[in-house]
Structures are given as C-alpha cells and as structure tokens.
C-alpha cells in the first residue's frame, strides 16, 4: 500500500476519532442553531402583549392609532395620572401616554410614555412611529380633495427594485451577490486559518515529540508532509460537509418550531415606513429564491470546494514549513507565522474592495494572484466573472500550490530534524535553495 495513503489515513482518523472533533462538528451547528432559535423565540414571544393606555385630552387620536399584535393601544377616559399609575401597578397596562388638551404635535413637541418597567429602544420606536403616523394622517386628511381617501394616497406609493443586468446576462441582485460573496470569502478565510494552523501544529507535534526521525527513517519527508496536509484537508472537508448538512437540516426544521415566525416577520416588515404594503413580504421571499436560481449556485458551490482545497493546499504547505522550523517555543511559531498571515489578511482587505468594485483592477489582480485568489475570487464570483479569468485563476492557484509545496518540502526536509535555536529567514532560505 502506498505510504502516503497510510499517513493520510492516520492523520485523518486520529483527528476524526477525537472527542473534540465530534463535539465541535456536531455541537457547533446545534449551538448556533439554538442561539438563533433563542433570538427568534424572544423576538416573537417577548413583546407581544404591550398594552398602552392613551388618555387623549384632544380626542383627535381615537381610531387613528394602528394596533398590532405587539402593541395595543387602549383609549381611556381617565385623566388623572395618579389613577393611571395605579392601573399600571395593577398590571392592566404596561404604560400610559397622556395627550394634553391643545396638543398639536408641532415640531419640538413631545409626549411622555410612563411605564413601571424599562422600555427598550425597539418598543419606544414602535410606539413613536405609530403616534407620528396617526398625526400624519390627521394632518393629511384636510389637505386632500373631497372624495380622496388616505388609502388611495397610500396606494400611489411606488416600490420597484433596481436589478442589475450585466452584458445582457441574467439579472441578479447586487445586494444578494454582496452577501453571498462576503460569506464565501469569509468562509475560505476561516478555512485557511483554522486548518492551516492545524497542519502547523501537527508538524510541530511531530518535531517536538521527536517522532519525526523515526518517521523519516521509513518514509520520505515529502510523503510525510503531503500525508499530513491531505489528511487534515480531508478532515476539513468532512467537517464542512457535516456542518453544511446539519445547518441545512436545522434550517428546514426552524419553521416547524416557530410557525408564527414567518407571520411575525411579515408584520414587522410591513409596519416599516419603507414598506407599508404588507403584501410586499412574500415578494421578498420570492425574490430570494429567484436570486438563488439566477446566480448559478451549483457553479459557485463547486468553485467554493475547488478554492477551498486549492487555497488550503497552498497555504498549508507554507504552514507546514513554519511548523518544521519551530522548536518548542510557541512564540517562535507566532513570529514565523506572521509572513504567512500577511497575504491572508491582505486578501481580506482586497476582498472588501472587490465586493464594492467587483471588476476593478485590484479585484482582478487579487482574484488571479494565487496567494489571494481563493478569498478574493470567491467574493467576486456571485457578481459573475468571465470564464477565462476563472480558468486562469485556478491554473495559477495550481501552479502556486506546486511552488509552495516544492519550497515547503525543501525547508521541511532539513527543518524537521533541526533542533536547537530557531532558524533565521536567511537559513531557511538556504535550506530551500541550496542542495
């Protein structure tokens, strides 16, 4: 049997069989899901029974304040604050507002919402918005020609979306591309860091445990290094796969647990000033699915895996080289890691640029240069990238990997058996480029 394969097997199994692997792989999505569920739960349940008493001395607001499930306005005849305060204590209402006689809601005027409990920013805005809207309607009505209702005025509002079509291709939403690009860029960034350092620590472990010499007497250093890189890469793919499946499965379960969540979302969105029309909401969902269909998700997913592995291979070789140069001291690792971290962070910076200007010169360079392309190209992909650029970028990435693997193998060969003081960059350069 091929020795590299045996090494891959060990590197893979020894990590996958660890308790921490099972914990992080299974528990992390559950934790994230639980966290979301909790947020949703509280946003749905938390504030649905806010009862506000309105003591309106002017009598103008009656029937003009919009009630919703989360905020209920009750008009009371009681004018005495002390009595109202008493009713708060009896928990008949959560708070009350007294509109003094002669209140006309001029600029700079304000009303007081009295409550026994703290009032959140969201709640305050909700009440504020409704009262302002009521006054708007009150003032709008006298201006309208006879026979024109406020409803009719509302219906004149236009809500169209601007879609971007590039070179006559399919139309897509820029916002959606932005989010998708950002998410995939960040994911690759995290993959490079997490699994790259995992390779580095693996190599350091071999070196400090002095098992390296035993291994090198049976296999070539190159086989040992590649076995480690590929084994950990396989761990990464399996972990991502499980995460993907779990998150998708949980996402589908979400509406089952919270059937009211969707309605709630519609209501909240509907009450936003920008989207008065509640019927808009299902349209949003439709648009999301449309966007998903328009952007070639299959292709992006495929390229994600390609860049995931390509970028990982490229960087993990460098991380392996750093790992073999380090002795016991983790601080040395920090120092030596720095030059490798630079291009990763640099890619991240280019990525944010590329998201705003996907066809700019910097974005183009970043998505072709092998050290930055995994992150930058992923960010550009949802906007649509010409085929030749993708091919060129992948070809360069493959070349880049061969380059770093060659370089790392030469440093590795010498470094893995070097003990004592931390090598300087000059020495490592010599390991790489002299026989």
């Amino acid at each position: 049997m091929n020795k590299t394969y045996i090494i891959i097997q060990r590197e893979f199994l020894s990590r996958v069989q660890k308790k921490t692997f099972v914990l992080t792989t299974i528990l992390l999505p559950l934790l994230i899901f639980g966290f979301y569920a909790l947020i949703i739960y509280f946003s749905v349940k938390g504030n649905d029974d806010l009862k506000v008493a309105v003591a309106d001395h002017t009598g103008l607001l009656k029937d003009k304040l919009e009630n919703s499930e989360s905020v209920q306005f009750t008009f009371v005849e009681e004018k005495d604050p002390a009595v109202l305060q008493q009713s708060l204590k009896e928990r008949k209402y959560n708070g009350y507002i007294i509109v003094p006689a002669g209140f006309t809601a001029q600029k700079g005027d304000s009303l007081v919402y009295a409550s026994n409990s703290n009032v959140g920013l969201m709640t305050k805005e909700k009440i504020e918005r409704r009262i302002n809207k009521a006054y708007e309607k009150i003032r709008l009505q006298p201006l309208l020609a006879p026979g024109v209702s406020i409803k009719a005025v509302d219906s004149t509002r236009a809500e169209i979306a601007l879609q971007v079509s590039k070179e006559g291709g399919k139309s897509g939403s820029t916002g959606f591309a932005y989010v998708l690009g950002f998410a995939s860029g960040i994911l690759i960034y995290m993959v490079l860091l997490i699994y790259g350092t995992m390779v580095m620590r693996g190599v350091m472990e071999e070196k400090t445990n002095r098992v390296a010499e035993v291994m090198i007497s049976s296999v070539k250093p190159y086989q040992l290094m590649m076995g480690k890189i590929l084994g950990i890469g396989a761990v990464g793919i399996v972990q991502f796969f499980i995460w993907g499946v779990l998150i998708m499965a949980l996402q589908m379960l979400l509406p089952l647990f919270f059937p009211e969540m969707v309605d709630q979302a519609i209501q909240q969105q509907g009450s936003m000033p920008a989207m008065t029309n509640a019927a808009q909401q299902p349209g949003m969902l439709q648009e999301l699915t449309k966007n998903l269909n328009n952007t070639n998700i299959g292709m992006i997913a495929g390229l994600f895996i390609l860049y995931f592995f390509g970028g990982y291979l490229l960087y993990s070789a460098l991380f392996a080289a750093v790992g073999c140069a380090v002795n016991e001291d983790p601080q040395d690792a920090q120092q030596l890691m720095f030059p490798i971290m630079m291009p990763i962070i640099f890619s991240f910076v280019i990525m944010t640029q590329a998201l705003n200007n996907p066809d700019g010169g910097l974005a183009l360079f970043g998505s072709l240069f092998p050290l930055t392309s995994p992150i930058v190209m992923m960010a550009r992909l949802p906007y649509g990238v010409p085929g030749w650029q993708i091919f060129l970028s992948i070809a360069l990435l493959a070349l880049g990997f061969l380059g770093t693997a060659w370089l790392a193998a030469r440093i590795y060969r010498t470094g893995i058996l070097m003990y004592g003081k931390k090598p300087t960059w000059k020495e490592m350069w010599k390991w790489a480029f002299t026989k």
Partner: protein, 310 residues
C-alpha cells in the same frame, strides 16, 4: 562479503566537519559498536547510513550495491537516539502504523505486534496511550517498533540510555538473539562496558574522523601496556631489572614488564627469591581507558563552538 560497506563518507556542515572521510565495513550477523564522545558525529553517520541524510561525498553499499533509500529502507530498522512516538496514539495502533510504513501489510503487522508484545509482556498496554507510559516502557515500545519488520540491519542509537538494569538486560538479550538469527546490528554508544560485553567489532570516531577500528580483543591487545596483577603474601617483593612496580595495595601489586622480559622469566625470578605467589594475571586495558586515552590524545575531547558565520 560485507553486509554494509561505508566508503569515505563525508558530511560537512557550515561550521564543522560532522563526518570526515569515514570508511568501515560490517560483516553479516555481527554486532558492531560505533563509539565516540558526544558530538563526535555518530548520529550524523548513522543518519547517512539510514538514508535520512545524503552524504556530501562517499558511498554506502548494502550487499555490495549502492544504497537505495526507496527499497533498502525496508531492510533497516532504525532507533534514533531521541526517542519519539505519537503521544496521543494508542500503543498498539502506533506499532502497527510504524510497521505498515515499513511495508508490512496490515494483518501481518497486527500479528507481529501481538507476538512481540507477548514476548515483552506488554499485551495489556495495547490501548494505552504513549503519554501514559514511563520512560523505560516507552523505550521498550520503541525497540519493538524498530525490529518489528524483521530488518536485516538494525541500527540502534544509544539503545540502553534511560533503561534500568532489568530492561537493559532484556534488550541486550534480544540483541544477541537477533544477531544469532542472522540480523546485523550496529549500535552507537559511549558506554564502554556494554560494548565490551556484546560487540564483535568496534570503531571509534572523534571529531568526525575514525581513530580506531577492529575486533574488541585485537584492539585490547593493541593497546595493552604489559600490566599484570600479582598477589602474594609477602610484605616486600624484590625489584629486579625485568619489571617495575606501578601500584601497591596491601598484598596486591600492579607491575609492568619491560618489553624484553617474558612472563615466565619474571615469575621464575620471583619464585627464586622466595616470593609466595597466590595469584597472577594480565591486566588488559578496558575499552574505557583506550577510549579516554585516544580521545584525550587527539586534543580536546569535545568540539569547540565556533561562531556561526554562514
């Protein structure tokens, strides 16, 4: 024909000559000792023989053919001085893994590991982790993983360091057995008493150069100083021209014969002088003495640090 032949091997580092023109040959089935003070270049030499390092110059021949790292590596079992195993791995898995890397198929590797574990009474260790082992236990495990694939050439770098006398003996016995079964064993050490016990042949290197080569007996003869231990019951022995007294401890005397005097002549003389001889035997120099003499003789024993200029 020699199993292993090393010809003019050289390995220079930037600041020092680690191995400087060393040649020797090892006969099949023999136990070969590689001696030298710390930093003499023993480990570098062994690493070149095992294919871990490439020599700058010179050849390593195995069975008369140039050493091929790819295939010949499987015929060599190497236990480095710095013992190392994967700490988090189960002991049984680890032994099987290393055997597989030496080319044994998995089922055969498992069978072999079981066999050796039984021999060393380690069966109960199988699913323990290496980090749970004591140093001596780790050594035993390391030895097992080295010889598991029945290599023709076993190279042990300081095999006894850190072992208690019981385990030390156990390993020594195994080394004898392996040699008897036809394996050739090379081991490096700076502990001379073990060498005298088990080695057929030794070489001594210092500062990268070979300074002694030969069979243990021959080497001792070569370095003998005509010293004899004489036990008598008399208080005084007459000093004749044939020998000089080096040391006296009660009724025991260490005497050195002159080159021309034979043992018989001296004894006849002593008997003629009414010395009652109770015991008499030759004192051969210990390898330890030879070692120290040679190493000290070639200037300072250890290499001096040189500033790194590279």
């Amino acid at each position: 024909m020699a199993l292993l032949e090393v010809q003019h091997l050289k390995k220079y580092y930037a600041t020092q000559k680690a191995v400087d023109d060393v040649s020797f040959s090892v006969q099949p089935g023999s136990i070969f000792g590689l001696l030298g003070p710390n930093g003499a270049g023993k480990t570098t030499l062994l690493r070149m023989i095992t294919g871990i390092f490439y020599p700058d110059e010179g050849n390593v021949l195995l069975d008369g053919r140039p050493f091929q790292a790819e295939t010949d590596i499987l015929r060599i079992g190497y236990m480095p001085e710095e013992r190392g195993l994967y700490k988090k791995m189960k002991i049984g898995d680890q032994a099987v893994y290393l055997a597989q890397l030496k080319g044994l198929p998995r089922d055969k590797a498992i069978a072999k590991v079981k066999e050796w574990f039984e021999k060393f009474e380690m069966q109960s260790w199988w699913s323990k982790k290496v980090e749970d082992l004591s140093k001596g236990m780790g050594q035993k495990l390391q030895f097992v993983t080295t010889v598991l694939h029945e290599p023709g050439l076993i190279i042990l770098d300081e095999p006894f360091s850190g072992l208690d006398p019981v385990n030390s003996n156990l390993i020594k016995e195994e080394i004898f057995k392996l040699a008897k079964a036809g394996s050739t064993i090379i081991f490096s050490t700076h502990r001379m008493e073990q060498v005298e016990e088990i080695c057929d042949q030794i070489i001594l290197i210092n500062k990268g150069r070979k300074i002694l080569d030969g069979k243990v007996d021959t080497v001792k003869q070569q370095f003998k100083e005509n010293l004899y231990l004489l036990q008598t019951d008399s208080e005084q022995i007459p000093v004749t021209h044939g020998f000089t007294i080096k040391e006296r401890d009660g009724h025991e005397w260490i005497i050195q014969l002159n080159e021309q005097t034979s043992v018989n002549e001296m004894l006849t003389q002593l008997i003629a002088n009414n010395v009652n001889i109770k015991g008499f035997n030759e004192i051969l120099p210990s390898l330890n003495d030879i070692f120290i003499r040679l190493v000290n003789g070639s200037q300072s024993a250890s290499r001096q640090f040189q500033p790194v200029t590279a």
